[in-house]
Structures are given as structure tokens and as C-alpha cells.
Amino acid sequence: MADRQIMNDQDIRRALARVAHEILERNRGAEDLIVVGIHTRGVHLAQRLASNLTEFEGSEVPVADLDINLYRDDVKARMSPRIRPTRIPVDIQGKKVVLVDDVLFTGRTVRAAMDALNDFGRPQQIQLAILLDRGHRELPIRADYVGQNVPTAPDEVVRVRLVETDGIDEVAIVRVEE
């Protein structure tokens, strides 16, 4: 099992700064924006993005946490994941929602996230920000903002570690031998 580092802490910081600028550019500011992180690591990335947005634009951007496990269509036999509370502090009706996750792979998580958001209201727009796009989509979903594109083999595992959960900022490809 050999690890291959894709991004270090500086790469992640720069990517999030660029993505924040792209979000502001596309939306012409931060008005009506709400950043929604998908549990677990998406939540921390969303907080970092929101603080970038707040810093660059000078106005507070609200952040929300979304747990999508109750909306999944790919729960494996007897592997039901832990359910965490969804916290959406503002009404998303008519807002521009930026969904945030660490890795975009099959697209099934994002589909589930869009279903989940619908139960809370009808946003004007949903955009998608991703730290790492590794390809192999199974649904017609694409990211609006991408930290980095990395071609991967389907059997490779992308491991994202963040200071908040793992004590270190790093993205690596880990090949798991069967």
C-alpha cells in the first residue's frame, strides 16, 4: 500500500482561496449565498470557505451542515452509517446554495444532498464546490468549483485528511490491495 500525496496543507489553503474568489466572481458578491457542508469533511471545508468569503467580501456568509445518509441509495448491506443532525440556521428558500464536499466521485452523495435540501425549501440555485474531483461519475452531475482534478482508478481510495478531524491537511491516493 503506497500513498501518493496529491495536495499538502498549502495546496489546500490556496485551492480554497481560489474557489472562494470564483464563487464571489460568479455570484457577483456574497449576497443571498449560503454555504452548506456535507458531513463530515465537507462541513469543515464549508466553514473554511465561508470564512474566506466573509473575509474577502466583508459580509457574513451563513454556513450549514447537511447529513445526507438518510437520503442515500447506496447504503451497503449492514453498513448503515451514523446519522448526524442537519443544521441549517437560515431559510434556504430563494437563496443561492453552495454545496461543499471533499471528494466528487460517483455523484450519488451530491444527488442525495440535493434531495435533502429540497426538504428544507426551494433554493434559487444550487452550486457545487469540491476539493477534489476524481472522476468516475455514475450520474449527470458536475462541480461548479473544483480545488483540483485528479484522474484515478476506480479501485484507488482517495483519502482526505483535515486538521479539524485528523490533525493534518492532506489529500493522498491510497491503493488498497485486496
Binding site: L70, Y71, K76, A77, R78, S80, R82, T86, D119
Partner: protein, 339 residues
């Protein structure tokens, strides 16, 4: 008390492989739950509680799953709670009662269970007046998850989990708390499961009531070493004022009127005078003491009305949390099964 000893030994299920919540097939009692697994249930219940407080209380998690509630005993809150939990998760919930079913024609529990299994049901929630009935189903049905919603005087694990959740929600912890369970502990499946639950989570459990209604030998069953964890830490106290000293949690149990005729009580008046939980008797408890009751209550017997509906009471909160706990259990037992 041979019945209790018999339960101690009979209730060792061979059907359960403990491998944490993800591998669990049945919920029969808390004796085979690890501390970690209990924490996982409580954490998931917090997520479920959030769903319960949404404007749109519906998620698709158990779409296409079928849950049967099979109740051989009367119940309001437990049955409704399971039904609501299943429906919020989009499972199809079928309610079946002994009255009006083939049970009245003499069909055995096992045959009823096999029939339900043959219909492709994923989870059976069973309440039965006989201790051990859910174990029988768990041993003989290999395609259905079993949840014990109360069996005889043996166990009521979902009630205990919702009680643990309610205490942790209010006080922020379970470890080191003094939990006093007052009343007819002997005949209470709620108490029995709660003793396992609170003791495993590191709380100090004190059982209080007339000595005729306390399972005095439960703590020292023959053949079990006195230091057998976690029950070794459980204490028995017949004097309510002593028991309540420094209490963080007081749980009053329903006193069934039949107990008086059964010779367990000299008179209801004496019981009320000595063991009714009232505001006045909480003087030496913790200032933040919380009052619980599994319901249905006999107000004015085991608990005073003012206390039951006062600011310290979390009795309605217990009902709300019961739905969240049952959502978490239904989800973990049936999500992804067969996928």
C-alpha cells in the same frame, strides 16, 4: 426468587453476534450492548431528533422496507412511537394485535412469526406478556430483525435507550450520575433494562421501594460472583429519603393496583406515604434533579401530579425522544439489509 434467576440464565441469547451496531440484527435487551454501541445509538438518535423537528418530517431512508408491530399487550406510546418512527423513515408499517388476529384462533407465536417472515417483512417489533418471547422469534426467524418492545417482566430496551438519551440530553453526561429508580422494580421490565443501561454507562443506580417489590437477589444471584460487572455497583435502599440524597435523576415506576391484592403491599395508602415521589421529598437531591416516568402514570400514587407536570419533569420529553431512538434502531437494523 427463582424466576429472576431463571431469567438471568435463560436470557443469554445465542442468536446474537456482537460486532457493534452495524452488525446487529436484533434488539432484545441492553445486556449484549457494549458501551460504545449504546453511544452510537444515542448519537444517531440526535440526528433523528433533528428530522423529527423539521417542517417536513419525512426522509426516504427506509423506502421499501416493511416493519410489523406485533403487540400481544396493550400499548399507546410504544406502539405509536414505533409506527411514527417507521413512517418518518418511509418504511411501510403494519400494525398487528393479538386480538382480531389468528392468535385468537390459537396460532402459536412461532407460527405467527414464520407467517410474517414469509410475507417478506424486514423487522418485527414485538410486545408480549411472556418474558423471553422475542428471543424465541430471534432464534427461529433468520430473515427478520426482532426488536423487543417489552416482554413480560424481563426487558424493555428501547425505553431504556430513550431514558439514557433524555438524561444525556439534559445533563450532558451519564457517567457518575446518581440515578434512583423508585417503585415496583421487581415487576418492571423498564427498570431491568435501565439498570443494564445506566450501569454500563457508569452511572450509580439505586433501587428504592418496599422490600417485597425489590429484586433483592438480582444483585447477588446464586452462581454469579458478587463483583460481576456492571451490576455490582447497583445499590438497594428501602428508605426513599436516604435514596434521594444527592440524586441527579429520579425515575418513578408505575405501581399496578393488582400488586396490593397480590400481597406485595400492606396498603396503597402506606405506599403513597412512604414511596410517592413528591416535590417535598426532593430536598436533599441535586438542585437540577430530573424527574422521569416511563408512563402510563398513576398520578397521586407513585408520583405527585405537581411533580409530574412541573419544571423538573422530563416525562413528555421522554415520549418525544422515544420516537428518535426508535428511528435510530429501525434504521440501523433494516437500512441496507439485502442491498
Amino acid at each position: 426468587m427463582s424466576l429472576l434467576n431463571a431469567l438471568e440464565t435463560e436470557a443469554q441469547p445465542q442468536v446474537i453476534a456482537s460486532g457493534g451496531l452495524k452488525r446487529r440484527r436484533h434488539v432484545l435487551d441492553l445486556d449484549d450492548f457494549s458501551r460504545q454501541e449504546i453511544l452510537e445509538v444515542l448519537e444517531s438518535a440526535e440526528g433523528m431528533s433533528e428530522v423529527l423537528h423539521r417542517d417536513i418530517k419525512k426522509v426516504p431512508a427506509l423506502r421499501g422496507r416493511v416493519v410489523v408491530t406485533l403487540f400481544y399487550e396493550a400499548s399507546t406510546r410504544t406502539r405509536m412511537s414505533f409506527e411514527e418512527a417507521g413512517k418518518i423513515l418511509s418504511a411501510d408499517v403494519i400494525n398487528m394485535s393479538a386480538s382480531g388476529s389468528s392468535a385468537e384462533k390459537g396460532e402459536s407465536l412461532l407460527n405467527t412469526g414464520l407467517t410474517i417472515q414469509a410475507m417478506g417483512v424486514d423487522t418485527i417489533v414485538i410486545r408480549h406478556p411472556h418474558s423471553g418471547a422475542p428471543y424465541l422469534l430471534a432464534q427461529h426467524l433468520d430473515k427478520v430483525g426482532i426488536i423487543n418492545a417489552g416482554d413480560g417482566i424481563h426487558a424493555h430496551p428501547t425505553q431504556a435507550l430513550l431514558d439514557l438519551y433524555t438524561v444525556k440530553e439534559k445533563l450532558g453526561r451519564l457517567e457518575g450520575l446518581k440515578v434512583v429508580i423508585v417503585g415496583d422494580v421487581l415487576h418492571s421490565r423498564v427498570a431491568r433494562s435501565n439498570i443494564w443501561g445506566f450501569a454500563k454507562m457508569g452511572a450509580q443506580v439505586v433501587l428504592c421501594g418496599p422490600s417485597t417489590l425489590l429484586p433483592l437477589d438480582m444483585l447477588r444471584p446464586s452462581g454469579v460472583p458478587a463483583n460481576d460487572e456492571p451490576l455490582a455497583s447497583v445499590q438497594v435502599e428501602t428508605n426513599l429519603d436516604q435514596a434521594l440524597e444527592g440524586a441527579d435523576v429520579v425515575m418513578a415506576l408505575r405501581l399496578q393496583a393488582e400488586r396490593q391484592n397480590g400481597g406485595f403491599l400492606p396498603s396503597m395508602r402506606e405506599y403513597i406515604r412512604r414511596w410517592q415521589v413528591t416535590e417535598a421529598r426532593l430536598g436533599r437531591s441535586s438542585p437540577d434533579v430530573m424527574i422521569m416516568h416511563p408512563g402510563p402514570m398513576n398520578e397521586g400514587i407513585e408520583i405527585s401530579s405537581t411533580l409530574a407536570h412541573g419544571g423538573r419533569s422530563v416525562i413528555e420529553r421522554q415520549v418525544t425522544n422515544g420516537v428518535a431512538i426508535r428511528m435510530a434502531l429501525l434504521y440501523h437494523l433494516s437500512a441496507g439489509v439485502g442491498a
